[in-house]
């Protein structure tokens, strides 16, 4: 295995694909390499090419979660979501770009079961244990998106600038389909460079988890109030970060037997999030 340290976005993009993988903080990627879930001949380090730091409403994709959680310029929902993700050690390595692209925590997937998301035909979680799994968009793959910051950014209406285009955060994510099992719309070799995060009048992130701290979200609710209304987004409820217009949207949830509680949990959590931004 070799490590490349390109100095321009073009060089990095050119080096990607064909058995090479982009490396930011490595907190998600390295364990996956070790577990042989990702195989790579070459790691392409992004440190020199992906911007890091906050400028006005723009956040470099290479900014660490630890930097974001203390930055007073950052909207509260994102700051809180970053502060609640992972552990201090991981946050000082992990970048916001990497966080948005982290792989599912579904343990069938992590144990390399030949499931739908791995290209197979069934979802093992639907048939087996799945209390951490999804209540929306879970027909084919029932995984629950693990990122707290992604939900916050989605509620905030963040836009993403990549090495090729600019798109809304909701366009970055897609539900996996028969033909394409990816959960993001990034093309091979496409890099996330920057996020543009509108300033809300108020925002908040609430996270229900299995212990007082240092756990993935069972359900995370981000709410952001803008002049034209409140935007809501949830972590831990669908294979991708999930937007809801209101609490009543929960009536359209399609929970599995073991995830029905997430609907019950999300209801009051949404109410409380709305209460705190309005």
């Amino acid at each position: 295995m070799q490590l490349l340290r390109p100095e321009s976005v073009e060089a990095a993009a050119a080096a990607l694909g064909n058995g090479s993988v982009a490396l930011a903080g490595g907190t998600d990627l390295v364990p996956m390499l070790r577990d042989r879930l990702v195989s790579a001949e070459t790691l392409v380090e992004l440190k020199e090419v992906v911007p890091r730091g906050v400028e006005g409403t723009r956040i470099g994709a290479g900014t660490t979660l630890a930097e974001l959680e203390v930055d007073p310029e950052i909207p509260a929902a994102l700051r809180e979501a970053c502060a609640l993700a992972a552990s201090p050690q991981l946050r000082s390595m992990g970048t916001i770009g990497g966080n948005l692209l982290q792989a599912t925590r579904c343990w069938y997937w992590r144990l390399d079961f030949p499931c739908f998301l791995h290209g197979g035909s069934r979802c093992h979680a639907r048939e087996g244990a799945h209390r951490e799994h999804a209540i929306f968009g879970n027909e084919r793959c029932a995984s629950a998106h693990p990122s707290d910051p992604a939900a916050a950014l989605l509620a905030l209406g963040a836009r993403v600038r990549t090495s090729r285009r600019e798109l809304g955060l909701e366009e970055l994510y897609r539900l996996p389909t028969e033909d394409d099992r990816n959960v993001t719309a990034l093309e091979p070799g496409e890099l996330i460079l920057e996020l543009d995060v509108p300033r809300p009048e108020a925002s908040v992130y609430l996270k229900a988890m299995d212990r007082a701290r240092w756990a993935f979200p069972l359900v995370g609710v981000a709410a952001a109030r803008f002049a034209d209304g409140v935007r809501l987004a949830l972590a831990g409820v669908a294979p991708i970060p999930w937007r809801l217009d209101s609490e009543t949207d929960l009536d359209r949830a399609t929970p599995l037997p073991g995830t029905a509680y997430k609907v019950e949990l999300a209801r009051p959590l949404i109410r409380r999030a709305l209460h705190s931004v309005t």
């Binding site: 809180e80 502060a83 609640l84 925590r105 343990w107 069938y108 144990l111 093992h124 087996g128 244990a129 209390r131 908040v204 992130y205 609430l206 996270k207 229900a208 988890m209 299995d210 212990r211 007082a212 701290r213 240092w214 756990a215 993935f216 069972l218 073991g258 509680y261 997430k262 019950e264 949990l265 209801r267 009051p268 959590l269 409380r272």
Partner: protein, 741 residues
């Protein structure tokens, strides 16, 4: 420095002494087994089964052997001696022979220059498996194909139970098992599989001695029982295998069984090089046994006034693929099924089955945890049914010296159950903290999920008990050796040898405190534990080591001092201490065949305050108060430490810890997915030590490590029930059980 000042500093029996390993551990200087190093050492790696149940058709090691840096690849054919081993029954292959029975079972070994080379070579070992239907449902195991053709545990004085896959079954019949009461309550309770979750993964270093023997430095709980299992597998005499205690990063029962000992030694002898093995975190989850998951049916019959008339229980334990110490856990679960209550009639049946689930064995609380969760839920239910205060009900039925246990053993010695209950109940429960407060002090913690909305408070209570030391006729004696000589200024100098494993429980301090007390000098050192220079101490388990090591060290010190005072200038004395003898249970009736089946008992009572956000299902344990029967606290601060740690482990089982399996495969083998409580999940613990000396024990001690774990799971869930009104018959109780109540 005056002598008194030094005394205070180092401490005698009964004084708080600072743990000798405390500062090195927090500063990172303590050498754990994973820090071991020897010049020229190789790294060993274990190839493990990816299947829970499969036949091995063929193993091809040729590619791995040819790889750079690889010095040896071994399979079962390379095991020179006994092919199987085990703590109580030698039913577990050193390396799988023609069949694997659990996910992660060792199949082959590699030694290479670098750990990564060893791992890569391991990937090139081709094992052809023919998957077999796994036995994963303990309730069906007794109707499925036997996993061990010849039941390894049959005979051995156990009940003759011909059903397939019965590891041990026991029935305790006491009085008239059909006796009726005026009121009856029943329930079915379940506990998930808990992991010891020690921070130091299994590790050790095996060093060939150049004469055919081997020295093994390892994190373990019982050096001599390791040696007695390792030597036959290596085809060596016991003396040729020397086990030395290395730095142990927690044990909790999970290091009673062998892990890398035989494997490392095989590789070292094969390559004539020192071989180090360190398990990864994921590997550690399959590298040791777990707490038995249990399903327990119980019925309590009582008079209207609240006196227990009859307790009936059926307990099913999943032992997993190999026997480990399951037979003893089975007996414990049965013996403590009623709790520390007096009842004239009982019928307790407990069955432990073999399955293709991860092997289970010893874990802090050893069978009593499971039973306590059930009997305390029942006592609360009974209190509600009778309209009696739950503490009153427990006091009314509290077992006392002179009473008879369901096994027929008469309670003798110290048994302050009623006192423990009273003292725990008297601890003042703190007032609910005013709102608003920092969310970290509300259910949901850092997640900031409530400012008080949905929060209900609950108070719970539980009582439990357990035996100290080994039981059923087993003589788990402990040896200590004391050398005395005259040092500078003619001062007495002592050196103590005791193989008792320091696993973080503080036995080193206890040994030194006893030696200082008995020898009347500060100049005492404890030599490193090794099978090479002292006899067995027995295991660091069953809450026994303080009692047994104190007994042995005191005996050896007194005899050594007598010799020394008689004029010998250098003394070297070894003595073995035995606890009072126990007797087995009758296999048909579960009645003790002698005086006592257990040496002595320890009780604990615990009161817990929780807050539950009943809308979200998130919880916070606010406060824990406990009273524990400790006999005599030799090192009070360490006793408090054991109570806090043991309580945290029980709280973990109550609220979050469970090994998840699918078709026998562990799906959450990491600390990302297997959650244990952090400091934020643990409340302050207020502990009252009840010191009623045990007449048969040195200084009146008992054990302290297990009772807090036995009782805390039950107590936490009792409080959750109070807050929510839900039955909560299964642990762990996680948000999905509580959300939307």
């Amino acid at each position: 420095m005056s002598t008194t000042a030094r005394r205070l500093e180092l401490g005698r029996v009964g004084e708080t002494t600072r743990r000798v390993d405390a500062i090195p551990k927090v500063t990172g200087e303590f050498a754990y087994a994973s820090d071991l190093f020897a010049a020229g050492m190789l790294w060993g790696h274990t190839v493990r089964s990816p299947h829970a149940h499969a036949r091995i058709v063929e193993i091809d090691i040729s590619q791995a052997l040819a790889m750079a840096g690889v010095h040896g690849v071994l399979t079962h054919t390379d095991v020179p001696g006994a092919k199987t081993y085990g703590l109580e029954f030698a039913d577990q292959p050193v390396l799988a022979i023609d069949r694997v029975r659990y996910f992660g079972e060792p199949v082959a070994l590699v030694a290479a220059e670098h750990p990564e080379q060893a791992r890569r070579a391991a990937e090139r070992i081709q094992v052809e498996y023919e998957p077999l239907e796994p036995v994963v449902d303990p309730e069906r195991a007794t109707e499925q194909e036997p996993l061990h053709e010849e039941n390894p545990t049959a005979g051995h004085g156990f009940r003759d139970d011909q059903r397939p896959n019965v590891l041990r079954s026991i029935a305790i019949r006491h009085g008239d098992p059909d006796a009726e009461g005026e009121v009856s309550v029943s329930g079915v309770y379940e506990l998930g599989m808990q992991d010891q979750a020690f921070l130091g993964p299994e590790s050790g270093l095996a060093v060939p001695d150049g004469e055919g023997g081997v020295d093994i430095y390892v994190a373990t709980q019982w050096l001599h029982v390791d040696r007695d299992q390792v030597a036959p597998c290596l085809g060596l005499e016991k003396e040729q295998v020397r086990i030395h205690l290395s730095g142990v990063g927690g044990a909790f029962g999970g290091r009673e069984d062998l892990s890398m000992q035989v494997h490392g030694a095989l590789l070292a002898l094969h390559t004539s090089r020192p071989v180090k093995m360190v398990y990864s975190r994921e590997e550690s989850f399959v590298g040791h046994v777990h707490r038995h998951p249990a399903k327990i049916w119980m019925e309590h019959r009582a008079t209207k006034a609240g006196r227990l008339v009859n307790v009936r229980a059926q307990i099913l334990l999943d032992g997993g693929a190999y026997a480990s110490s399951s037979a003893a856990v089975t007996s414990n679960a049965a013996c403590f099924a009623v709790g520390p209550y007096s009842v004239d009639n009982a019928l307790i049946e407990c069955t432990c089955v073999y399955s293709n689930n991860p092997p289970c064995g010893a874990m802090r609380g050893f069978g009593a945890v499971q039973s306590c969760f059930a009997h305390e839920a029942q006592m609360d239910k009974l209190a509600t049914a009778l309209g009696i205060d739950p503490v009153e009900l427990r006091l009314l039925n509290a077992l006392a010296p002179g009473d008879t246990l369901p096994t027929g053993q008469k309670v003798s010695g110290s048994f302050p159950a009623a006192e423990v209950i009273r003292r725990a109940a008297e601890l003042p429960v703190p007032e609910a903290e005013e709102l608003p407060r920092d969310p970290i002090r509300l259910p949901g913690g850092a997640g900031n999920t409530t400012h008080g909305q949905g929060v209900k408070r609950g108070v719970g209570f539980a009582v439990g008990f357990k035996n100290v030391c080994y039981s059923e006729g087993f003589d788990d004696a402990c040896a200590a050796r004391v050398r005395l000589w005259k040092g500078a200024d003619d001062e007495l100098v002592g050196e103590v040898h005791c193989a008792g494993a320091e696993v973080g429980q503080g036995v080193t301090n206890v040994i030194l405190q006893v030696a200082r007390t008995e020898l009347g000098t500060e100049n005492v050192a404890l030599a490193p534990g090794s099978t090479a220079d002292v006899e067995s101490s027995g295991s660091a388990s069953a809450s026994r080591l303080t009692w047994m090591a104190a007994g042995a060290v005191r005996l050896a010190c007194r005899d050594a001092l007598a010799e020394f005072e008689a004029g010998r200038s250098a003394v070297d004395v070894q003595r073995t201490y035995h606890h009072p003898r126990t007797a087995p249970l009758d296999p048909e009736t579960g009645q003790v065949k002698g005086d006592r089946v257990h040496v002595a008992y320890m009780c604990a009572a615990m009161r817990v305050v929780v807050e539950v956000d009943v809308e979200l299902g998130l919880t916070r344990v606010v406060w824990i108060g406990t009273a524990q029967d400790v006999g005599k606290a030799l090192n009070p601060q360490a006793v408090h430490g054991q109570i806090e740690g043991g309580t945290a482990q029980g709280l973990g089982l109550a609220l979050m810890e469970e090994i998840q399996t699918r078709d026998g495969l562990i799906t959450n083998a990491s600390f990302t997915d297997y959650l244990i409580p952090t400091t934020l999940d643990m409340p302050p613990v207020e502990a009252e030590l009840i010191e009623e000396e045990e007449p048969d024990a040195p200084y009146g001690v008992k054990g302290v490590g297990e009772p807090p774990t036995v009782v805390s799971t039950a107590a936490v869930v009792s409080a959750l029930r109070d807050a929510t009104g839900s039955e909560l018959a299964r642990v762990p109780v996680r948000p999905d059980e509580l959300a939307g109540l």
